[in-house]
Amino acid sequence: MRTWFNTLTPRTIFGLTLITVALLALPFVAALGGQAWVRIVNFAILYVFLALGLNIVVGFAGLLDLGYIAFYAVGAYLWALLASPHFGLHLPFWVILPLGAIVACFFGILLGAPTLKLRGDYLAIVTLGFGEIVRIFMNNLNAPINITNGPQGITLIDPVAIGNFKFSTGSTVFGIDISGPQKYYYLLLVLVLAVIAINVRLQHSRIGRAWQAIREDEIAAKAIGINTRNMKLLAFAMGASFGGVAGGIFAAMQGFVSPESFSLIESVMILAMVVLGGMGHIPGVILGAILLTVLPEALRYAVVPVQKALFGAVLADPESLRMLIFGLALVLVMRFKPAGLWPSPDRRRELAEKAR
């Protein structure tokens, strides 16, 4: 610890302080535009969470996973079942959250194991299948025994609460009014910082290098003694556990889960965040997640006024135009920044050379 602390220059200290202040102030700044924006920021963080989890699997270990949402679903349902009137259980969050990570982890291994021999596109379709299988089970496990309550979903899920301090409603802390979404923001911020730290440390470790080796050339990785089976399962498990925690928070924030929140398109979206941002590069992935969460919402606000300004009338249906722009953005970013918006320096170098 002493070593890195000493290397801090006044400039980096200033930078870090600035970032800290900005992060702390963000929910109050966002709230100026309405609590909806705090909520959007919260979802953005939740997706950062998910994208970083998937990044371990796809970005680090190079395993194309199109069913990642399954782990998110597992986490969400676990919370819903353990903290709602459905089974009459109301466990506290500090029990459920780690449990969610562990159960999702277990699912990661369970679903990862049959896919170990598969490559690339075959892996993609199988993981996609697993994602669908999990969703369809959740949709149907209301009979013969009612476990998930089927398509009706589970309502009245407990919010995160520390004693009587509930995260769902606003309260006053040290004389500052703080809303429910703002509370969740700080909770998510703490968690996401932990996730980022874990990601960074994993990447620059013996295990991170082994994943990278598997991504580059599995045969060679085996030949130098990497147990690719265990390493791949570890990647699935780590990625899944992040998904599980994110799912739990999602359930608590929403107060309601139903299978329709965990459709294939969500998996695709998270993958798009990872790739669009810059696969394997943590800052890039974070950027990708934030952009893809905020962009559609921002477009929601922008489409009509912009049209009115340009043409004096609303020519195209704002909602379809919004999705159209979103799709185009995906295509264009990939066209002009094929390695993502913020690729790792190595990746950038690689592409520069390819371009000749």
Binding site: I198, R201, L202, S205, R206, I207, G208, R209, A210, Q212, A213, E216, D217, I219, A220, A221, K222, A223, I224, G225, I226, N227, T228, L234, M238, D346, R347, R349, E350, E353
Partner: protein
């Protein structure tokens, strides 16, 4: 340390076929500790298949390998590496988008322990290990002579440097037996000579070497003993001077003007 000259690897009647093609027909050979052992033969004779069977990439259809006193597990390349066999590939298989240094560092994987918690919490032991990995990798880069390319992506290295880097990566696993698959392919006479010096040095450090190579001059100059494969079967296994003049070898492999 075990004595020089005792048996390190014994292949017993190893067989492998692909569909109807018999790639290896009951090949048995013995490699002794400390020697450089050459494996030659025409293209398609089964040399690389033999390598792949030994290192666990292929499951042999018959026979077994005894390495360092115990049988090698089939279909488990990582365990083979753990036991002390390292290899290079005919068509270089580096981790192209990792730096040269990272390539060698990842080679230390099998000799290090840090797990998921070590990686996340980065305790004292984990940090010490990480430092040791880096130190050793830097030494090896220096050893094979590509230290000045340490931070370049492996795929951007020249062909010769890539060959050397692949050897450094293999050495990072602390092998007892180093298997080189055509290391001199695509090198001119002078480059081949430098390679010969490198291999000589590795042998001097006590690593046994198994060498597949088409450069007859290199093989005959370097190897203590040579085996010749033809159509998947062992033709002869002996010292170079005898192998070189065996009429069957000349007819099947060396040709007239060797």
């Amino acid at each position: 340390m075990s004595a020089k000259g005792e048996v390190l690897l014994q292949a017993q009647a190893v067989a492998k076929h692909f569909g109807g093609v018999k790639a290896l027909r009951d090949v048995s050979l013995t490699i002794r500790r400390g020697e450089v052992y050459g494996l030659i033969g025409p293209n398609g004779a089964g040399k690389t298949t033999f390598f792949n069977c030994m290192t666990g990439l292929y499951v042999p259809d018959g026979g077994s390998f005894i390495f360092d006193g115990a049988p090698l597990k089939a279909d488990a390349p990582d365990q083979v590496a753990d036991r002390g066999i390292a290899r290079t590939f005919q068509n270089i298989r580096l981790f192209g988008n990792m730096t040269a240094l990272d390539n060698v560092m990842v080679g230390r994987h099998v000799r290090t322990q840090a797990g998921i918690f070590g990686a996340i919490f980065r305790g004292r032991a984990a940090r010490a290990e990480e430092a040791a990995i880096r130190r050793r990798a830097e030494e090896l880069l220096h050893y094979v002579g590509v230290e000045d390319r340490a931070d370049d992506l492996a795929k951007n290295l020249s062909y010769g440097d890539q060959r050397r880097l692949e050897i450094a990566r293999a050495l990072a696993t602390e092998p007892k037996l180093l298997c080189l698959d055509e290391p001199a392919a695509g090198m001119n006479g002078t480059e081949t000579e430098a390679l010969r010096l490198l291999i000589d040095g590795i042998r001097a450090d006590g690593v046994t070497i198994l060498l597949i190579e088409h450069d007859v001059k290199l093989v005959m100059g370097l190897c203590d003993r040579v085996a010749v494969l033809d159509y998947g079967a062992l033709l002869i296994e002996d010292v170079p001077s005898i192998v070189q003049h065996d009429p069957r070898v000349i007819e099947a492999y060396i040709g007239v003007a060797a």
